[in-house]
Point group: C5
Chain length 321, copies 5
Amino acid sequence: MLINCAAYQQGVKLADLAPEEIGGYLDRPDTFVWVALRDADSAELEVYRQQFNLHPLAVEDALKGHQRPKVEEYGDDLFVVMHLIDWTGGELLRGEVAVFVGRNYVLSVRNGSKVHFLGVRERCEREPELLRQGPSFVLYALMDTVVDRYFPIVDILESELEEIEQSIFTSGAARDNIQRLYALKRRLMLLRRAVSPMLEMLSKLHGGRIPPVCAKSNDYFRDVADHLARIYGAIESVRETIGTAIQANLSMVAIEDSDVTKRLAAWAGIFAAATAFAGIWGMNFELMPELKWRWGYPLALGLIVSVCLGLWYRFKRAGWL
Amino acid sequence: MLINCAAYQQGVKLADLAPEEIGGYLDRPDTFVWVALRDADSAELEVYRQQFNLHPLAVEDALKGHQRPKVEEYGDDLFVVMHLIDWTGGELLRGEVAVFVGRNYVLSVRNGSKVHFLGVRERCEREPELLRQGPSFVLYALMDTVVDRYFPIVDILESELEEIEQSIFTSGAARDNIQRLYALKRRLMLLRRAVSPMLEMLSKLHGGRIPPVCAKSNDYFRDVADHLARIYGAIESVRETIGTAIQANLSMVAIEDSDVTKRLAAWAGIFAAATAFAGIWGMNFELMPELKWRWGYPLALGLIVSVCLGLWYRFKRAGWL
Amino acid sequence: MLINCAAYQQGVKLADLAPEEIGGYLDRPDTFVWVALRDADSAELEVYRQQFNLHPLAVEDALKGHQRPKVEEYGDDLFVVMHLIDWTGGELLRGEVAVFVGRNYVLSVRNGSKVHFLGVRERCEREPELLRQGPSFVLYALMDTVVDRYFPIVDILESELEEIEQSIFTSGAARDNIQRLYALKRRLMLLRRAVSPMLEMLSKLHGGRIPPVCAKSNDYFRDVADHLARIYGAIESVRETIGTAIQANLSMVAIEDSDVTKRLAAWAGIFAAATAFAGIWGMNFELMPELKWRWGYPLALGLIVSVCLGLWYRFKRAGWL
Amino acid sequence: MLINCAAYQQGVKLADLAPEEIGGYLDRPDTFVWVALRDADSAELEVYRQQFNLHPLAVEDALKGHQRPKVEEYGDDLFVVMHLIDWTGGELLRGEVAVFVGRNYVLSVRNGSKVHFLGVRERCEREPELLRQGPSFVLYALMDTVVDRYFPIVDILESELEEIEQSIFTSGAARDNIQRLYALKRRLMLLRRAVSPMLEMLSKLHGGRIPPVCAKSNDYFRDVADHLARIYGAIESVRETIGTAIQANLSMVAIEDSDVTKRLAAWAGIFAAATAFAGIWGMNFELMPELKWRWGYPLALGLIVSVCLGLWYRFKRAGWL
Amino acid sequence: MLINCAAYQQGVKLADLAPEEIGGYLDRPDTFVWVALRDADSAELEVYRQQFNLHPLAVEDALKGHQRPKVEEYGDDLFVVMHLIDWTGGELLRGEVAVFVGRNYVLSVRNGSKVHFLGVRERCEREPELLRQGPSFVLYALMDTVVDRYFPIVDILESELEEIEQSIFTSGAARDNIQRLYALKRRLMLLRRAVSPMLEMLSKLHGGRIPPVCAKSNDYFRDVADHLARIYGAIESVRETIGTAIQANLSMVAIEDSDVTKRLAAWAGIFAAATAFAGIWGMNFELMPELKWRWGYPLALGLIVSVCLGLWYRFKRAGWL
């Protein structure tokens, strides 16, 4: 579905175009055409494939989706894929955007995500002195927006981790914690698979050999790369902390279990002592003189109670109770 | 066993050949011979070794099998080995295909796998404008097919993992889970040993110095490399998740064990208390006035029951029951 | 907030300047202007942006803060971000300092940290023969100070680890230890996220291609890099030791738990034996001749006691008690 | 001890030589001398050191032994050390072979291993067209033999792992398994320390800059490197699987322990209930009307039995028994 | 404190010098001055700083100590720091030696270690043909000595590990083992922090670009690097084995604990059965016909004993006892 299609000269918008008018603008000096599509099908893309002379492998990737983030050079043209991560209803959903960039055109195709890029176009049109850099600036602006949208996701994951951390050392929450840590790890991995290849791909757009189409926006791509590196650092940090948290959680379970065993042992000992004494005076021997004493019963009770108290005190002091 | 042998000129099939006719086609311009063998023995390969002047080390590797995926240059010729992974009867089976590529020939030798490559030849013949690239396009088409067949394997492993994940946090499934996770890990390692060296080998076919025979199909090899990188990413992700799942499983066992210990401790305490009291009134002292009271027995029973209920309530509130 | 602004020629201070006087000094030979700001806002930075012709992306980063340590080249100018780590009230707090370095100016902007850099200026002014190197020496001096302040933090973390280690093998401290190890790990990660990217960034300032503005201070940046590498080594060492300590702690919990289970088992066995014997002589069969023996009761008591002692001795010898 | 010493011209054996005759053959065109020693001492090596002009550091290494696998260039000459791994009596034993390679000589010194290399010489003499490559082909043949002897070792370790895997999920074998896994890991590490540096060293003999003496045998060294990479892959795979197996084993111990605790808890509960009821009717209160009932005893027995059965059934259904 | 100061020409000692005589020898051809200091203070070093024109940063590092192993080039001069590890009274102690190397001088400063280097000087003077290489050979000789002293340390750590391994699978030693493994790991880390950066630093002295002052001793530095790589390999191997040993130890604790639980469960079951039966016949029902049987008591005893034996036999067979 076509969202937007316009031509820009020297960073200033010339006109909104219909797809078939594109050809007339491609050869003008300092001019490029910027097209935005959503969930495009094969037929729709075919139009632009011809207009912009796109490489069939790139078009196929854009149609099939489920690509990993990448940048590929086809001659002087670039083909870029990025992941869009939405946080909807407590879950992370992954969409994709594929961008074709040439000397005189930019074509973005968004798939499976409800997030739109209209703000990007507005922002670009407000800054014609920057948009004058051409299609590479549009690519930068799209990337910047994609990456900026990763930040709140990282924040959500980080604050979720902090929430879990608060209950790691409170007893009784272990089962819940391990479940939440596991789910958090999965979400983190999803984000990581969007960020990690993108970081690698950005290193091709600044520093070292740069595709000619991106040369002017060098500094800008480095800026995006830097933001992404920050996100990646946070992801790795959360990831390592999750690992430590799982270990700490397991330790806490073991410690609690040990405490329970101690209390079990202590009370079992106390009651077993009482029962053993009672059992002895419950024997039916005929000649058990103490059974006939006047104070036999109170003495026996007193002995049992004091043995139990003695044990109780010892266990208490040893920290078992 | 010979499956197929044909000559192609400018991407168009000239004729099916008998092995001894090959020589006549090798010097024609823009022509190459494409041979497909299955489980070839030494004698069979010897024919082609002479026709195509194959390197003895490469021929030896193709005969012996059990190679790791690799690409080797012998002068201007390439020798490529890939793993074929079949999913048969719930198990992964590994076959191999060795491909010899020269300026004017392609020879593929498939070993120990029931999957065939006839579809590849058909697809190539339908696109003569691509097949015109020569033997390197055939190599690409074979690689692409091999890699595309990894995708369903990854999907199977991923959905198996998801199935296991559903029962990780349900009690009583721990033994089964650990067994399945272990088996899954083994299968994953098998696939990984096919994919990881292949990824490394593909980096030699696109970007940087490229063997001359592959120069024209540069973009296509990059495309395969990209698919493979996607598979590798998925494998690494499954692998890390298995690690976390094993830890989570162990944690769940510990938590369940702790719960059982708590319930054991609680019930043991309740019964031990009852037994201790009963034991005391079962002693045979002569002077135990309460034994003679009218309400002695009901009072004793009541006391025992209320102590037990009291304990039960306390344990309940503490979450031990 | 402006802290300080002065011009230096040949390493000697010429004059304290008001911001608007800067322009007059920028073109003098061997002269540079050194400005220090704190928590600067957009308006304040705008003045210097114009004077020094700073790149908008760098200015934006300095204003927004929450950057990761980095060095970026904009043309011949450098933009450097470092983390400042304060140890306040038992917690690590992170501030930032952004430094803009050009041929004839240095501008530092400090955010969110109470630590100041006045000492740096004094030290530089005392060594005019070094300050003569120009802005890059100021950058070095700032970096050196930032890095030197990491050392006491590392010392604090190391001595905290040593404290924990002392109680790892004493029983009863497991819960406390795991909690402290977890907190220590978190602090360490914070420091690591300041050090690790800075180490990477410093490698761009010495050895290999060096930004021209830093060329003269090459050896000095290598010295800072070396200090930082030392800190990084210590961090990695603490990190690995924490991992081992967590494992050791878990082992100790398991060992203690095992000891408790053994003692529980031993005492339960001893009392259960006594109770069983007592129970047998408490049965009400009419024909139990031993009940009528003269020495029946003492013999029974003796038997029970000797069985218990025998068990006790055996358990003692087996190390269960 | 001298094993063999012969001169070869154009790949064909000229004569067996005494050590003092060597000098006469070193300057002939296309000729080289091949010497094989075993457990040579300082005096013996001194002869060859002079004849071949060996570097003192290399000679020292060959005498001292306990080197790690390596290849070192001394001028145009090569010094190579490899580990020999023997499987004797259920244990891995490590020997070494040091090889000096020059333009016109090969000298191999074998230490502490019963495996000999006679087969290598025979094989080389049967293929004069290959031996014509000169000393580097001899080096290749030795390497190939050493590496081929690693394969059965890997097979032994792999099948040992598979044997252990079979009993990981059967109960009662945990202690044995952990012991065997530990021993297997140690053996694997021994092999790994032979293979890993050799892999690194082989990368210096093919691809990139190659020592001139090896130039002609380039493809052959790559072939060895490929075999070694296969072995290394297998080692890493076994290593990772051992790690997972140790975890799985620990999980199984925990699961079994949990099962035992459950059964303990269940039976303890059943018997404790019976004992508590019996204890109550064993109390000596005078007014316990049920004691006088005609069916009191059978009813009591029935109650006890049914409570026990009820508990038993519940535990059974919960999977505790 | 000055230990030694002498001038060498063509590898032969000219004279012992007083510090102030140094200047007269620095300009002679093929001559260098070799000075050895111990725990030098600022004033002492100042003399040599002027004579040899040392870089202030290097002097500062040598004075402050607590450096990590490193090699730094200041112009044509080298500054090298190495760690000295002593094994004293069962503990590892770390000292340092800093070496300044120039075209015509070597200055070594040893700090905080009782080990001296006199043997190095003697050895060098005995081999003038090697010492003729100049200061770089002295540097080599010092490095070689430092590295050779690491070998016995590694041996001590390895044999300590082997000792621990012997008791890993014997029961009752777990607590001791974990403590010793932990201490061993710490010691290993200390050694590793000496070796790992030194390995990295040595790579700068052989292969690739080499500082001119070291050019002649290239092969010798490679030899040291090789020894160090061997040590590093051993360290990594011990490190990985410690990790596995900790896991194995934890497994053994769990297995032993499981065994104890089983025995506890078994004996508890046996005694509980006896007690339950005894309790039943201890009830006070009036109508319990078996109490009046002639053989009631023996039969009851027999039943109890046979139930207990039956249970005992079953538990024995199940491996619980």
